[in-house]
Symmetry: C2
Subunit: 351 residues, 2 copies
Amino acid sequence: LSMNTDQASNVRPILWEEGHLRLLDQRRLPHAVEYVDCRNAGAVAAAIREMVVRGAPAIGIAAAYGVVLAARTAYTKDPGQWRREIQDDLDRLAESRPTAINLHWALCRMRSAFEPIRGEPETELLGLAGKIHEEDIAANLRMSAFGAALIADSTRVLTHCNTGSLATGGFGTALGVIRAAFHAGTLQGVYATETRPWLQGARLTVWELQQDHIPVTLIADSAAHSLLAQRKAGWIIVGADRIAANGDVANKIGTYGLALSARHHGVGFMVAAPVSTFDPDTPSGAEIPIEDRDPAELIHCSGAALAPAGTSAWNPVFDVTPASLIDVIVTERGVIRQPDRDKIAALIGMR
Amino acid sequence: LSMNTDQASNVRPILWEEGHLRLLDQRRLPHAVEYVDCRNAGAVAAAIREMVVRGAPAIGIAAAYGVVLAARTAYTKDPGQWRREIQDDLDRLAESRPTAINLHWALCRMRSAFEPIRGEPETELLGLAGKIHEEDIAANLRMSAFGAALIADSTRVLTHCNTGSLATGGFGTALGVIRAAFHAGTLQGVYATETRPWLQGARLTVWELQQDHIPVTLIADSAAHSLLAQRKAGWIIVGADRIAANGDVANKIGTYGLALSARHHGVGFMVAAPVSTFDPDTPSGAEIPIEDRDPAELIHCSGAALAPAGTSAWNPVFDVTPASLIDVIVTERGVIRQPDRDKIAALIGMR
């Protein structure tokens, strides 16, 4: 069972092979292309927590496969009570990262399939996890077409973090839009922020765009403002980890500063995300839990300490961009210009 | 001859010892405290270019001592024509970094002493270089008192890059203001950006503040916007590499984005710089030359490649903040609120 399609890029971050989950180890990129084998839900939760796999949609898909492994374990332990036995593993998966809502969405969707299952659950649940995976790629392709049409007037755009194949089922949200615009012939190149502290831009986005021969220029995060002042990018395009009911967006730390700068310079600011990223139960950005990660991720780089021993650091890895700074949210169901509560409710209520 | 005073911090970045210039190697901090010995002007120019010494005022002081070494060489070569022989070395020093105007100011001041010299020039010029060095520390102390009074309402502030003893004669501009406010008892702690790509914040500012036991919390550059949104800092305080006649400020890349954010959040934005940083011959920021440095400085860290082979990068190391975003410029002669051409002309015309 392969979850990748021909339309997707050559990068295959999430595989189900030989009865278990294999995750491309994003901690080791771009220096090594290695997979981590996950044979139980605990291993999947650890891989999510330690960022073997990252990116909101990819986390959701990995967690869905994690439920398949959890169900196998639970059914082996007690075939009659697997729905009870699986609870601890579901909690473990749910708690692996706090900010991305796609994780909870995927777990909820998997759980909703439990009730009607008779006999062993693995086959049924693997089918659903595969469907979630395939739907994510299909959603990426649709939103990418919508987004590419919007940026047809720009030869260069700026993106932040990694939102490509590596962050999704295998195509990309913001980077999917960029990939589609490049293949449509309107986009000539991309500026990518390095994205401190984890360097998703330098390590992952540059690597992924190189695989697809899309020209990319790396910049320091803080050089983005000069780039906009010099009119070198026509749009900023980012993904999202959670979109509140009012359109506030939690995304990689630095997104908020880019949105402020885009508005100041009259540059368009686009968020590309699947509908699974919307969280109608979170009224606004103020209620989105923002993950603070270990300061060591900021203080160390490539195994070396950057700052002196005893350094204190604050390492929030997401921030909140208010809806008022967002020009358009692009989803697989269409686009929302000047997002607000009513427009979002209408879109996510659609079927 | 020691150029440091008791009022200055314990950090001694620039020394004249045993007849030559010794520069604390800022590439090696915080892991090693080592000095580079410069015995001729070419070595000083190389040390400036390669960032053994950095920070606009420190570059000016190092260059002044470089002129002493250049005069020695020229006088040894041809005592009667040393003013002609020295020209190549003066050009070499002038070309070592393009953005900081203090370098040109110091060279100009040294050169203005050439004419009346009779006999060997070294003694006279060393006296002047030492005076430039001591005056810089004295100017730091005066501007720090002015600045500290302005931020007396803030318990925490944010700074960018390194503007302390390491960047000056031995006390600091923005970090001098911070040091003075801490010793005055109003300031409780500092947020320091790591300052990519060269990590002046993580490597130098954290280290320097640790030496003085001033509490400091390191953040990623792009986390500054969340910090301000959460009202965790009352002021942003930065230095300057050049201030144009209209008050536009060239400073470390990222300063402009911080200024935009400060204005958006209603947080004060202060520039602390000696009068030697003003360049009346540059009408506005648009005419300030901005140094693009080797992309390798962005792509490599601690000797390891961060991005894949073949990565293209744009690495401007300064940006321009328009005067309209600056609330106050603090100098050793006093403060300029809402800087403009007339206020600046009045201040730098003062004697």
